[in-house]
Every structure is written in structure tokens, then in C-alpha cells.
Amino acid sequence: MHLDPFELHRPTSVDEVVGLARDLAGRFDYLAGGTDLLPNYKMHLNLRPHLIALEGVRELRGRSLERIGAMERLADVEAESALLAAYPPLGDAVREIATPLVRASGTVGGNLLVETRCFFFNQSQFWRQSLGFCLKADGDRCHVVPQKQKCYATFSGDLAPALMAVDAEVEVAGADGRRRLPLEALYDPEGDGIRRLRLRPGELLTAVHLPAATRGDPGAYLKLRVRPSYDFPELGVAASGALDGGRVRRLTIAVGGAEMRPVRHDSLTAALVGERLSDDRIRALADAVERATRPVHNTFLLPDYRRRMVSVFVRRAVERLREGTAG
């Protein structure tokens, strides 16, 4: 498979990136690890004439208990045992992303911003053309939900739910300067599988910030996929929390791989604050998260199965959290 010609830019500072992004005004993609972008380019999915390679930007590196640079390789994060122990959902998630070879190149920022997926989108140009293309690339209709003018492609990153569950924030840089926002605010609840981020034009994700308040809290990330050694999530559920004297002080649940964006279910977990985590309460929470999650038929596994696995995973993840506290 060949790549169509593009111009490659190799900036070395964030300011230079921001300047390039302004000059190229939407006619570019950022290139991080390339493990998702380049396969998509080989399939002729939404090509741009310019690539801005971020590998030479030093400021996007660095790993500590407080901050992970957006260009940190997943394999390097995976090797940080203290960091992963401090944030258990992150540890579970990073070890389960794709394969060791993909993690050797793939980056934290790339996984947070990974392109949404759909089996009508992640296909060769010939395959897509034979069906008249789709809303997300080259076409004007959705084959998953044909009655809607909206893209239902699934958010398929593992790190986002895991990091959302531990209250991570992200830092972005753009023409208007730098800003920090809660990770969940990066994903647009009003958007769809195409317009899915709340980034301003050209804005660059520079780092993830990990809060001290959730450091060491028990938690888990559970992932559903067909081939355990390789696949994108068909569902990913993260739980994180803290108990005081057996009563919930903090509890978060985040679900990815199921809808167009990763979702944190704060309205459902709020009622449990101050309560004991009984089996009945856990089951009720798990059922409520399942009811709030609506996968569509655009990945390998059937949506009804994926939806029903939501409550199974929420229950298992919260039980593990409860056990982690006891231990």
C-alpha cells in the first residue's frame, strides 16, 4: 500500500507547531506515533496535504507522577511501575493497548485523540466506494443509522476512560495560548463520530496532568475485545474511587469503546457517596450505567452483547476497587 504524497514538517518547539498549524489552516494532520494515522492514510481515509511530525518537540516528552507528555510512547509509560501502581486504571489500560510493537511507537496523546472507528469507515477505498462511501469519509450518509445525518463511529481509545476516572486534566496549546481542562471536557457531548473534540482549530494536546488527590486510589480498567493480544476495545470500563471506613468518599466510572466519545457517569455515582459499597448497590449502579450506554452496530461484536457487558464490567471493576481498598 502506498501513501499519497504529502509535505512533512518537523518542528522542534510548541510555538513552532502552533505557527505551522495557523499557516496550514486545517490542511494538515498532526503525526504522533503514526500507528493509527498512517494505516488510515494507506486506506485513503481523509487525507491532508501536510503532516506536522511531533517527534522532535522536546516539550511534549517527560513522565512523572504529576505529568505525562503527550508524545510519550505507550511502551515507556508501561515501564513506569510506580506511575502505574499510583493510578491502577492507567496501568490496566496501557498494558492492553494494541500490541507491544504498536505501543513501542504509539503515544499517550495519540491514544487520547485516536480516530473514531466503524466497520463502514475502516475499510479500503475500493470497499467503501462499492457502498457509496459514508458521512465520515467521502460520502453523504451513514450506513449504521441511515435515518440520521450523524456519524456514529465509536471512540476506541483505552487511555481516555482510565484517565478520566482518575480526574486527569489535559493541557493544550494553540494560537490563543495555553489552557488546561478536565480530560472529559475534551470530548464534545454535542458532537458525533466526526466532530468529536472540543479543541479549537489547530490546537495541540501537549500533556496529561495527574492529580495528587486520586494518587494511590484503587481502581481498575476492564477491556472487551475479540483478540486479547491486538484489538481496539469493543468496550472499556474504568472505575476509580476511595472509601473511608467502608463508606464511599469518591467513586467514578468512565466508559469507552461503546459510543462516539468516552463518558464519565458522575450523575450515577454521586448517589453512592457516603454509602457502603454493598453488592446490591454495586449491581444497581452497574445496571444504571448499562441503561445509560447505547452502542450501535458498527464494530465486530453485536451491540446488545457489548451493552450487556457494560454492567458486568462495572460490577467487576467496582468489586475490584472495593477489594483493593480492603487490601
Binding site: 504524497p5 494505516p39 511530525a53 510493537l101 513501542a104 493480544s229
Partner: protein
């Protein structure tokens, strides 16, 4: 049309300078321009691991690595894994155990396992299985591959 600027890097220890277009991946540069055909093109999408090479010692999927981005780096292919005479201990273990069937995936496995054993000289079987989980063998011959890596780690090759 002017030729693109050259990239300069070390390839299996040798200084190399070659003109390459931005949209060319390292795999195509190695196989088609430099005729190092030991590195195999499998899926071409990062799924199979057949095209694995080392960039600055780190396993990299050469089908998803833009050739221009190895400028200034050290690239090691399957051709550079062997010592000047003969085979590396890992390669000998592959031969002795019979860890090849059709052989197409073998270079990728050897390169991946070479970097893995350098970083984990005494791996458990589970760690080996995890380490090679990005390399596909379509003859499904994983047991002997695992055995060969175990043998090389034990110094039995």
C-alpha cells in the same frame, strides 16, 4: 522535479545517505531502494509485525515509520542482527528448535525477540508470550518460537 533532500542514518552499522520522498515508509526504502529484502511486507498496516526493525535499538514497525524520520538514527534490520560470522545465539536457537515453518514471519520475530532479550535477559514464559504478541505467524507455530527464545535466554543455543 528536484530530488528530495537526503536522509542520513546508520544502517546496520554503515553510514547511509539516500534521497527519499516524505510519503515513503522505511519498509519500502529498505526493500525497494536498498534491496534489503530480509524485512518482510506482511499486512502493511502495523498488525502483523513482519516488518519489524530496530530504530535506535527500539523495535519499530517499518511499514508505519516515515523514512525521513530515521534521519540521524541507527537502523538495524534482520541483516544486521547476525554477528559478522554466522548466526546470533537467538538465530541458532531458531534453527535448532525448528522455530520456522514457511519462514515469512521469522525476521520479524527474530528482530522483536533480539530487542526483548537485550532488555529482559531472563524472561518468564509469560513475558515471552506477551513480548511476541505483536508478531503474527500464520502457520500458527508459536510454541517452537517461544521455545527458541527460552533456549536463547537460557544460553542453551
Amino acid at each position: 522535479m528536484p530530488s528530495p533532500p537526503p536522509v542520513r542514518f546508520r544502517l546496520n552499522g554503515q553510514p547511509t545517505e539516500v534521497a527519499v520522498e516524505p510519503a515513503r515508509v522505511l519498509l519500502d526504502l529498505l526493500r525497494d531502494d536498498l534491496r534489503l529484502t530480509g524485512t518482510k511486507r506482511g499486512c502493511d498496516l502495523g498488525t502483523c509485525g513482519c516488518c519489524t526493525v530496530l530504530v535506535d535499538g527500539r523495535p519499530s514497525l517499518s511499514c508505519l515509520t516515515l523514512a525521513r524520520l530515521v534521519d540521524g538514527r541507527e537502523v538495524t534490520t534482520i541483516e544486521g542482527v547476525s554477528p559478522p560470522q554466522g548466526l546470533s545465539p537467538l538465530q541458532r536457537a531458531f534453527v535448532e528448535v525448528g522455530a520456522t515453518q514457511c519462514g515469512f514471519c521469522t525476521p520479524g520475530f527474530v528482530v522483536t525477540a533480539t530487542a526483548f532479550l537485550r532488555d529482559h535477559p531472563h524472561p518468564s514464559r509469560e513475558e515471552i508470550v506477551r513480548a511476541i504478541s505483536g508478531n503474527l505467524c500464520r502457520c500458527t507455530g508459536y510454541l517452537k518460537i517461544i521455545e527458541a527464545i527460552e533456549r536463547a535466554a537460557a544460553g542453551g543455543a
